[in-house]
């Protein structure tokens, strides 16, 4: 499974729901999949993508989707504990797990050596979890996540491919647009 194709697939199914993306290729590929008011692109704050999404989930009744990365979640595994503690029923975390810090040169991350982020989530009390390896499985679990209360934690094992160009986004404008999309 490749992240770009899988991102496009998820976008087709998630309607108008807000999405927060991890720094690097997850953000760039989200932009290339279709720029929308409700995409929140990050360019830093490594490890905090799902934390941002958690804050959003706690502030709205809408379902919020986090497209996180293995390296970033490893940096802040504590966020999984916080999600397990807060139990936001409207949060769906999808982890693009390429078993690498891809953005910085494809170095193997801890998930290539046995760290199982789904098990970490289960250990933090998150019950709705899955690990998927192809688009069909991902879509099936994603639909279930949209239909059933969460929090959901879905590890999507992917293979890395060539990067797309960095998305030409102005952070201030994107943030303004994103906040506005939640209404006043």
């Amino acid at each position: 499974m490749h992240r770009f194709s899988a991102t496009k697939m998820l976008l087709e199914h998630l309607g108008d729901r807000p999405v927060v993306a991890n720094l690097g290729p997850s953000t760039d590929e989200l932009w290339h999949s279709g720029d929308r008011d409700r995409n929140f692109y990050t360019y830093g704050s490594m490890g905090l993508c799902s934390s941002i999404a958690l804050g959003m989930a706690l502030s709205t009744d809408e379902q919020v989707i986090s497209l996180d990365g293995d390296g970033s979640l490893l940096m802040n595994m504590g966020t999984i504990g916080t999600i397990g503690r807060e139990v936001p029923s409207n949060l769906i975390v999808v982890v693009w797990d390429n078993e690498q810090w891809a953005q910085t040169g494809y170095q193997a991350s801890h998930t290539a050596f046995g760290t199982d982020l789904e098990q970490v989530a289960r250990g933090c009390g998150i019950e709705k979890t899955a690990t998927v390896r192809d688009e069909e499985e991902l879509l099936s679990v994603f639909h279930q996540a949209l239909d059933e209360e969460g929090p959901w934690f879905i590890v999507a094992k992917i293979q890395e491919e060539e990067y797309l160009p960095v998305s030409p986004v102005e952070p201030e404008m994107t943030l303004y647009r994103f906040r506005k999309s939640f209404g006043d």
Binding site: M46, G47, M75, W101, T104, G105, Q107, H110
Partner: protein
């Protein structure tokens, strides 16, 4: 502007010359060029971590046990490590050399990336001296950093200011 070249082997040689046993590391684009060489270097062990604040703690433990670690992270990671640098670098008088990828460093005065803009002011605030390493001609500054750290028994940084050319 003349092209700047920083290549891995002189850096590795400098680390070996200073008796480095471990590189405690989280990847960044600025220092990625060192990665393959470090893996191949049998006299130096690479310890990859999950977040940069771990690097100082692991390095401090290695130092207590008689090893000679260096920390290799990005400036963003140095911000992430604030309390570790305070508690496990400065407070315990750990002569730790931190090699820090200088993300955003442009050399021409207009520095848009806040990661670069805050790097030196924060080192100043901590009272941590630093050496800028941008080309192969600069790598002996890494030895200056080791000497200074030893002499003053305190952390010293090397700002790695070039991507591999």
């Amino acid at each position: 502007m003349a092209e700047l070249h920083l290549t891995p082997q002189p850096i590795i040689e400098e680390l070996k010359k200073n008796g480095v046993t471990h590189v405690v590391w989280l990847p960044d684009s600025e220092t990625n060029f060192l990665y393959e060489r470090m893996l191949a270097e049998s006299s130096i062990e690479l310890v990859p971590v999950c977040r940069e604040a771990e690097t100082m703690a692991i390095a401090a433990g290695l130092w207590v046990g008689g090893k000679k670690p260096v920390v290799l992270i990005q400036n963003t990671g140095m911000f992430e490590s604030g309390d570790s640098i305070r508690g496990l670098g400065l407070d315990i008088g750990f002569p730790m050399v931190m090699m820090v990828g200088y993300r955003g460093w442009t050399r021409h005065g207009v520095t848009l990336d806040s990661a670069a803009r805050f790097t030196e002011p924060i080192l100043h605030a901590w009272g941590i001296d630093y050496y800028l390493v941008e080309t192969d001609d600069d790598v002996d500054r890494i030895s200056n950093a080791f000497d200074e750290a030893e002499k003053k028994q305190t952390p010293v940084a090397c700002l790695m200011g070039a991507e591999y050319g």
